[in-house]
């Protein structure tokens, strides 16, 4: 193979042939059968490598798939399951009566579902934020939501999720300062009420029970948002028992 032909083929595979180069390669392939055979061979090699690499990448994704699936558990009979459930219930009841109740630690944090921020056409940072949020990486999520809120200042959803993420990473004071104005929004069905619940929760966690009661009661009065009604009642019970 001549040096010039070799360079033409190299340019073809490097995708750097212009229209003139393509026409030249075409005419050289038509004129020289040996060159055409070599060119076809190299195209086959490229196909073989692509096939091998496609399989490698698919195997990589299948490995991710296997990691995402929980390990298959041995099947338990209904009878066995009932007996385990009964034992666990007895154990839980025993712990409830025997152990002293420890205030704020017995009300766990529950993240608000991310359903109303999912849209296909959002900035990448929003997707990064929701991914981090869904995977429980709240510190990271709070940073991404803060950036999203800066990029779209008129959208209170990002600010709300930033605050919820701050609570998830136990930064209650910062969350309170962000949530307070959100709880005052008047022209939205959901955001102020969600903010009220998380304000109650953050105040409860910082031991400010008067404020916690105030916001929990405000939350319980609303008719639009009910995701945390049970938790709000539980919080009030816990405060009353103290």
């Amino acid at each position: 193979m001549k040096n010039h032909d070799e360079q033409l083929i190299e340019q073809y595979f490097a995708k750097s042939l212009d229209a003139e180069g393509q026409a030249l390669l075409q005419s050289r392939l038509e004129a020289d059968p040996e060159l055409r055979t070599e060119f076809e061979w190299q195209k086959n090699v490229a196909e073989g490598i692509k096939l091998k690499e496609d399989r490698r990448i698919k195997a990589l994704l299948q490995k991710e798939e296997a990691r995402m699936k929980p390990a298959e558990q041995p099947r338990l009979s209904y009878r066995r399951l009932s007996s385990i459930a009964a034992t666990l219930a007895l154990l839980a009841a025993a712990i409830w009566f025997v152990l002293p109740h420890s205030g704020s630690s017995d009300l766990p944090f529950s993240p608000y579902p991310d359903t109303f921020i999912f849209r296909d056409e959002v900035a990448p940072v929003v997707n990064q934020a929701t991914d981090a949020y869904k995977s429980g990486a709240y510190q990271e999520a709070a940073k991404y939501f803060a950036t999203a809120a800066e990029q779209e200042p008129g959208n209170p959803n990002y600010t709300l999720y930033q605050a919820i993420s701050l609570i998830g990473s136990e930064k209650y004071e910062q969350a309170i300062s962000i949530l307070s104005p959100l709880a005052e929004i008047s022209d939205n069905d959901r955001i102020p009420h969600v903010a009220q619940w998380y304000l109650a929760f953050a105040y409860y966690k910082t031991g400010k029970n008067d404020q916690a009661i105030r916001f929990a009661e405000q939350y319980l009065e609303n008719q639009q948002e009910s995701s945390f009604k049970k938790e709000a009642k539980q919080m009030l019970d816990l405060i009353n028992k103290k």
């Binding site: 340019q11 490598i49 296909d120």
Partner: protein
């Protein structure tokens, strides 16, 4: 000072972010593709289940194929600019794969044994060549396993990553592009021998 309205400013910012996103795949494809899969596999399955009746395992496999196609389009420079987020692109590839699977299933159901002679009459000789090419690629992919290093990397950089000899020389520490060309010829000859053995 040049004034731009908010919509075009947002559009420009988004385009910049999306080019940066494609760059992430070019820089470190394995990690970026795995991350894309981890982040959107569940959402894809949920979305597709809303309008098709394939089971979760089938949809996961389709999503894997869609990610591979997405990567090949970036690599082959068919996809150089994203109009939306990368996962939106992968979802649309996945949708096409699902629809094509349905078409294939419908065809298989329609074509019984009785339809086979007619199908044979309409046989396109081009299909035969394509099948031979597929078989060659299949066999070559196995022979490439036996080729070993540094030949595989050199050929991969050249034919898969579309790099010129000068770039390969820099990346693989060869003294010049001529040395790369000579080495490439040797590797291709070795592979040819393995292929015809």
């Amino acid at each position: 000072m040049t004034m731009v309205n908010l919509a075009s400013y947002k559009g420009m910012t988004r385009m910049k972010e999306q080019s940066a996103e494609l760059e992430k795949f070019r820089q470190n494809p394995d990690e970026a593709l795995a991350q894309l899969y981890r982040s959107y596999r569940g959402r894809f399955v949920q979305w597709a289940r809303g309008w098709c009746k394939l089971d979760e395992a089938e949809l996961a496999e389709i999503f894997q194929d869609a990610v591979v196609i997405f990567w090949n389009n970036i690599r082959e420079q068919k996809l150089t600019q994203l109009k939306a987020a990368s996962h939106t692109y992968v979802f649309s590839v996945g949708r096409r794969l699902i629809l094509s699977k349905f078409r294939q299933m419908a065809r298989t159901q329609l074509l019984g044994d009785a339809a086979l002679p007619e199908a044979a009459e309409n046989w396109d000789p081009g299909i035969e060549n394509l099948m031979i090419q597929d078989e060659d690629a299949e066999m070559l992919s196995h022979k490439l396993e036996q080729l070993g290093e540094p030949c595989y990397t050199l050929l991969k950089l050249s034919f898969y990553e579309s790099k010129r000899s000068a770039e390969i020389a820099a990346q693989m520490n060869y003294s010049s592009d001529d040395v790369v060309r000579t080495q490439k010829k040797r590797c291709l000859d070795r592979l040819r021998k393995l292929f015809s053995a």
